[in-house]
């Protein structure tokens, strides 16, 4: 039983599509994240001060009452604990990953190298990520299985840097492959499934039946993740895989495949094949090819 009625509800689906069509691409202003962080820190300080001040006020009042009873200033009864005022401290949550099937790394260990959102992305700097869709196309085409052909590439990305979306055909059926090269600092490179889970609501995770698996290096550090969805249980048709790998310099190479040739991937996107065009190991092999990060194409 699914709580998501829009799957089976034509009326709701129609309204939702209308909303999507109307709002697609609408984004917050670029300076909003910075403003939020600034205002948020200020708010947190204010709340901390208010909490501390409030407790001190109570403590002072209690001391004033207690002193005469306790015999004077030499024997002040401790009242109130400053520990009670530290509710805003962020101790790591020893909780579990909230994505079904996720493996967890120790969330108490700070992940090194997580960039601040407000850091400028070095998009202008030269690097392996500065590859146009046309260049990426040439690299991808050479590495696809022999029985797979590229039907077309999304033209709107042709001259963009670091993103390529193609429709493919193979004995598996038709599908879509999307590749992205992200410069260090452009996106958070925290590859833990926990970080991914925050980006999805529980409703979305249920709807897409999403699972996340962390990829670790020999030392056990989380350096990538695999996210797979299968919307069939919720009445949809979409199945897709996404593999994200953190590069040594902190960038990200990622690839997604889906069993639909629709531009947008929704749970109810019509399936063009039973399976996505590539398996997870095939995507991993493709992304681990050093050609993506050596700048040679």
């Amino acid at each position: 039983m699914s709580p998501h009625t829009h799957q089976s509800d034509e009326n709701a689906g129609s309204l939702r599509e209308r909303m999507s069509r109307s709002l697609d691409g609408l984004s917050v202003p670029g300076d909003l994240p910075g403003a939020v962080l600034t205002a948020g820190r200020r708010a947190r300080r204010r709340r901390r001060l208010a909490a501390t001040g409030g407790t001190l006020g109570v403590a002072a009042l209690a001391v004033a009452v207690v002193w005469p009873l306790a015999g004077g200033a030499d024997d002040p009864t401790p009242v109130g604990s400053p520990e009670g005022t530290t509710g805003w401290a962020t101790s790591p949550d020893p909780g579990q990953a909230s994505v079904p099937g996720a493996t967890t790394s120790d969330p108490g260990v700070p992940t090194p190298g997580i960039p601040q959102y407000s850091e400028p992305a070095p998009g202008e700097a030269h690097g392996w990520w500065n590859r146009t869709a046309r260049q990426m196309f040439a690299v991808l085409e050479e590495r696809l299985p022999e029985d797979m052909t590229i039907e077309d590439a999304y033209p709107e990305f042709a001259d963009q840097v670091g993103v390529l979306v193609v429709r493919t055909d193979s004995p598996v059926g038709r599908g879509t492959i999307e590749l992205r090269l992200s410069a260090p600092g452009e996106r958070s490179n925290d590859m833990r499934c926990e970080a991914y889970a925050w980006a999805w609501s529980k409703a979305e995770r249920d709807l897409y039946n999403a699972e996340c698996r962390e990829l670790t290096d020999a030392g056990g550090e989380v350096v990538g993740r695999v996210i797979s969805t299968d919307a069939r249980e919720a009445g949809g048709q979409l199945r897709d895989h996404t593999v994200e790998l953190r590069t040594e310099d902190g960038g990200i190479v990622s690839g997604s495949v889906a069993n639909t040739v629709d531009e947008k991937w929704y749970p109810n996107s019509p399936a063009s094949a039973e399976l996505p065009p590539l398996t997870v190991p095939q995507i991993e092999n493709l992304l681990r090819d050093p050609i993506w990060t050596t700048g040679e194409s």
Partner: protein, 169 residues
């Protein structure tokens, strides 16, 4: 120091992933870009200030959307100013985003709804919450959610000239 850095990094990741979605919900609630920006900023500041609590919630995304809706309805109660006619609302809308004609029609139709009905529509049909979840989020009974949803969809059907919107709850 390390804790604060981690706090900020986690929150920044969350914000990067969810801000646009929150903004689109806010646009449908407020019907005005400037108000939507204010609403999202206020919401995210609240989420930031409570991040230690939010991150431990079973569903941090739903939690943040709950804050957005509560803030919207609370602002509506506090403000005495009415809404601006739809024609004046979209002069600053991003021309590259979505279909402008569709958006104007949608917002005109949403503008016909009472704020609480609009919130019901956004939660039920944009954020995919069930009747029970919507009722909990807005502090309404399930029957009230169904009634408001039916009424709202009737209005939207007329406004959008969409015969498919014929009574989903």
């Amino acid at each position: 120091m390390r804790s604060r850095s981690r706090h900020d990094a986690e929150f920044a990741e969350f914000m990067a992933a969810r801000a646009d979605r929150l903004f689109r919900s806010a646009m449908m609630l407020t019907l005005r870009r400037a108000d939507a920006e204010d609403l999202v900023q206020t919401t995210l500041v609240k989420v930031y200030a409570s991040w230690a609590k939010v991150r431990r919630a079973e569903d941090p995304v739903a939690y943040s959307h709950g804050i957005l809706h509560k803030t919207f309805l609370s602002e509506r109660r506090r403000r005495s100013s009415g809404e601006v006619p739809v024609g004046e609302q979209f002069d600053q809308a991003d021309p590259d985003a979505g279909d402008p004609a569709d958006r104007i029609a949608l917002f005109e139709a949403l503008g016909e709804l009472a704020p609480l009905d609009r919130a019901v529509v956004v939660l039920r049909h944009w954020e995919d919450l069930s009747v029970v979840q919507t009722a909990e989020a807005l502090g309404l009974s399930e029957a009230a959610v169904k009634n408001r949803s039916l009424r709202a969809l009737r209005v939207l059907r007329a406004g959008l000239d969409d015969p498919h919107l014929n009574g989903a709850q």
